[in-house]
Symmetry: C2
Subunit: 564 residues, 2 copies
């Protein structure tokens, strides 16, 4: 933070500006006007626009359009499968200069030590990582997580400057039914920002949830749902993750009228999608392609996010605001030519000069050794509940099928696309194993397994061959977590994620390449889903309807209870 007097002096031109961007045109999103002239920057702050400035350093942005840095208003950096430092290196060059993250994936594995890791990392990244405090660890009482975070734990974390408030309050039944633990957390953050998560909630239930003071929400999957949430005082974050893709459904609601109150987020986006499509830059281009006005799209990507989360120091290229600037060579396609983050020109040298933080949560996979027998069911009837996958959504269908009992088990039936799904507790707490059925993978042989399994991050395994399931799950313990594809007693592909079983220590480019191998291997087993591991990761998340599975069994999310 540069000195107040210095900023004023450089803004007035009484002192030479530290950095000047010359030759570009500022597109002011407040007034929808174009402003020529230099942009003067002092430290991490813009101090002048629309005038001539002398600069100790001058960056040529001739012919480029300058817009405020993009704000990802809700995401779990862990879902990028890389550390915050690699996430920074992967995404900041795409124009994302603020990421409002919820570190609840790592928090479910190792508790507040995981949150502290993100807080410390935020002090070194080029992008401004804002670390919301995770509200629901574990997400429910129907799962075994590696840690539990109560209100008093959160209180100890509240002073870090990266904080904005409380992260997505997923335990919406706990809110509307006034669970004491939920109430304690809401009270602790009274007057601060409280982020929401309440898929498909409506009517008086939604009124009750909003009455608790929750002001942002990203789970709307239809325009009607989003409209009601906006009407009820929640700013809607349009999400386009790797699994949950709501942009097309919500795009019609994003107009010049609503854009000041709508934002963009990715929630969970993996490096493959970031590489193939992009990040918020992709969302902006896609919105414009679908007919959203460029003003509405760019506002939602920056200014509106800043307003929704009370980040008054950003969202506009104006004096006194953070020097978060994206220089575009093309507005409609959001082609990013250059990025300034907090006054720093984003390039490999800038990334190389960052400080670091040692990774935490090594050797976190402590699951029981499994054998093929562990994946047998012990049914007392042929009627069975089946999780029905909806590709590109994290909500599922609750299906009912009849499966003949064979040898005291209801085995998978690839012909009907009925695969075994198992969740194995891996935090060394109880060794729980729950088995069920899933439809939608298209698996014809072998198994896939993962420690990325929201939000408890136990081992999730899908297969049509029990021995391959055991092999894949056991391999995860050896590689400190990650993804495995196995067939006929062999590992076909794998990716090690040794930080909490969630994040790689490799560069994002390597992770991207490994993911492509995993995708190919899964496809070779018959898998028809574009993102089988991400889709799998959400089948164990019991705060998203309709039918899910945890280490404790199948969960009917609408009734918020385990089923027999």
């Amino acid at each position: 933070m540069s000195d107040l007097e210095t900023r004023i002096a450089q803004g007035r031109g009484d002192a030479t500006a530290e950095l000047v961007l010359r030759g570009g045109t500022v597109w002011d999103l407040v007034t929808d006007t174009m402003i020529t002239g230099d942009v003067a920057i002092c430290g991490d702050t813009i101090v002048g626009i629309g005038a001539d400035y002398a600069g100790h350093a001058v960056v040529d942005v001739t012919g480029l359009t300058l817009v405020p840095g993009f704000i990802d208003t809700h995401l779990h950096i862990e879902s990028s499968l890389v550390t915050p430092f690699e996430f920074d290196r992967c995404v900041t060059p795409l124009g994302v200069t603020t990421a409002i993250c919820d570190p609840h994936e790592i928090a479910n594995v190792i508790g507040i030590e995981g949150i502290r890791y993100f807080q410390q990392a935020s002090e070194h990244t080029l992008m401004d990582i804002r670390v919301q405090l995770s509200s629901c660890v574990p997400s429910t009482e129907m799962e075994t997580a590696g840690a539990r975070i109560d209100a008093e734990d959160l209180a100890a974390l509240m002073k870090h400057p990266s904080g904005i408030g409380l992260a997505e309050f997923m335990n919406y039944p706990g809110v509307i039914h006034r669970d004491p633990g939920a109430m304690a957390k809401l009270r602790l953050f009274d007057g601060r920002h409280i982020d929401g998560h309440c898929p498909q909630l409506s009517g008086r239930d939604l009124n009750a949830y909003a009455a608790a003071g929750i002001r942002t929400e990203h789970e709307a999957t239809t325009a009607d749902e989003a409209l009601e949430k906006l009407q009820k005082g929640m700013r809607v974050l349009i999400r386009e993750g790797s699994v949950s893709k709501d942009l097309h459904a919500l795009q019609p609601l994003l107009t010049d009228v609503t854009a000041p109150y709508m934002c963009l987020c990715t929630d969970d986006r993996n490096p493959l999608d970031i590489g193939e499509e992009g990040h918020l830059n992709f969302m902006i281009a896609e919105l414009i392609r679908l007919g959203t006005s460029p003003l509405a799209a760019y506002r939602a990507a920056s200014l509106s996010g800043a307003e929704a989360f009370g980040l008054k120091d950003r969202g506009q290229i104006a004096p006194g605001r953070r020097a978060d600037i994206v220089a575009l060579s093309d507005v409609a396609s959001c082609r990013v030519a250059k990025v300034i983050a907090g006054g720093v020109v984003v390039d490999e040298a800038a990334f190389a000069s960052r400080g670091g933080v040692a990774p935490v949560a090594r050797r976190s996979v402590r699951a029981p050794h499994l054998t093929a027998r562990d994946f047998r069911t012990t049914p007392n009837r042929e009627e069975t509940d089946v999780i029905g996958i909806l590709e590109g959504k994290i909500i599922t269908e609750h299906l009912h099928e009849t499966v003949p009992i064979v040898d005291g088990d209801t085995p998978p039936d690839p012909a009907r696309d009925l695969a075994r799904i198992a969740v194995v507790e891996r935090h060394g707490k109880n060794g729980n194993i729950a088995n069920g059925f899933v439809r939608g993978f298209g698996l014809k042989a072998g198994a896939i397994a993962s420690t990325v399994c929201h939000d408890h991050h136990n081992i999730a395994c899908v297969g049509v061959d029990y021995a391959d399931m055991a092999l894949a799950a056991n391999r995860l313990a050896q590689i400190e977590g990650g993804f495995v594809v196995a067939q006929d007693g062999k590992v076909l592909a794998e990716l090690s994620l040794p930080v909490a079983g969630l994040m790689s220590l490799a560069p994002f480019e390597q992770v991207r390449a490994d993911l492509e191998c995993l995708r190919s291997a899964a496809t070779s087993l018959g898998v028809t889903l574009r993102e089988p591991f991400l889709q799998l990761a959400f089948l164990a998340l019991p705060v998203i309807p309709a039918l899910k599975i945890t280490d404790r069994g199948m969960v009917d999310v609408r009734r918020f209870e385990l089923i027999g």
Copy 2:
């Protein structure tokens, strides 16, 4: 503040709502949609919309359109000439449920005791009075005020819940030239809201001012000026006071695109105008009449003000927001049928049940006894500076005239509309008297005098007869300040303002009647200005260009210095 659990329970319909508004239609300003159904209120908070609710009390709003309570984003309540309690009774029924005030008038008379008076009053009024802390007391070093407030004084006042931040930073030269006292105050409020005041500042000077972190501003008098301020990161507050009337000039800039970033304010509005025209309700109707879309006008009047000042708990009729609701019988003309302020139905009974605070700053007028001789100039040349009034503006022209020296004095010349203007120190500090010329009153006889004289609130007196000037000024000391019109040795009309020489203890209706008498009396002296006392009040304010007068002499505001 009602209990969190109670709000959620009432929102869900698990408990009976305290208050239900039935039969109306909510106009949601976020989505520009109409929502039917009950509005449920628990304590001071809305807990439900768009559904059926049972209520302990039900208010019938059949056929009415419900919009969020209006927010006056910048005003000096003292300019209403009544106490905060009478201001509340006068203005809340017009739909103003939040008033962001700067008590710097009373603060200039008695310092922080005056600010504390407003803070305490805010605990009792039906409207939510937010008390910004006065940044510039005195406004400059070119005047004698009754008090001085430094950064450490402000620090002692910062904890009161009515605070938002630092009030209008009028000493803009102090900001852009890095005056140490100004810097100390800015630093004290780092990270909080800092309101601005920088008439006609532009270019790199405006960049420097905005770079200091100042984010709202209300002094733009042209659309070009307002546009530049918006572009430079300041939210623009359109002002329509009793003297400064900027609505017509700025209205073209208020569109659906800019409305989320523009607000409304009155700054200084007297009870006559409130009675004859209205308050923010008048501004809304006038904007719509001039062609502004109703959505833009109502947003600027509520939602955008809440966003600009970080008041996340209001600005929309939605669960979790303050129950500040205006029920309109007509939208375009902003006809207010009923008002709910903080969950209380606004009526005489509600006003009668408020608590009170004893008035402060009695007997504050301690001026020297004056005689006719005190108003003589002692010129050494016939060329003289003349303040040129621009009716309806607080900026003035700097005129130059030649006045023959008669008997060692340059006397008033009614034929050329050249009246004597004098400012007399009245805080008991030094008894300064400064004399000069003013053009624009049209005065043909007698004198008018006032203790409402921004911001130092010394005695300001305009006349063409020195004996009448002395009479009027001396009378002010006897009535504890206020307004006097005198002619031929007699007081024609007067209004006593015994609270700091600024506010009456009478009901606003009585003050209104007295002001009409004063206006008639002034007119009988030839005065052609519609608001002679308000116009007079700003002639001594040396932070508004171009030529002003204080107790220390004439001030060239553009050079920010006293002239010889």
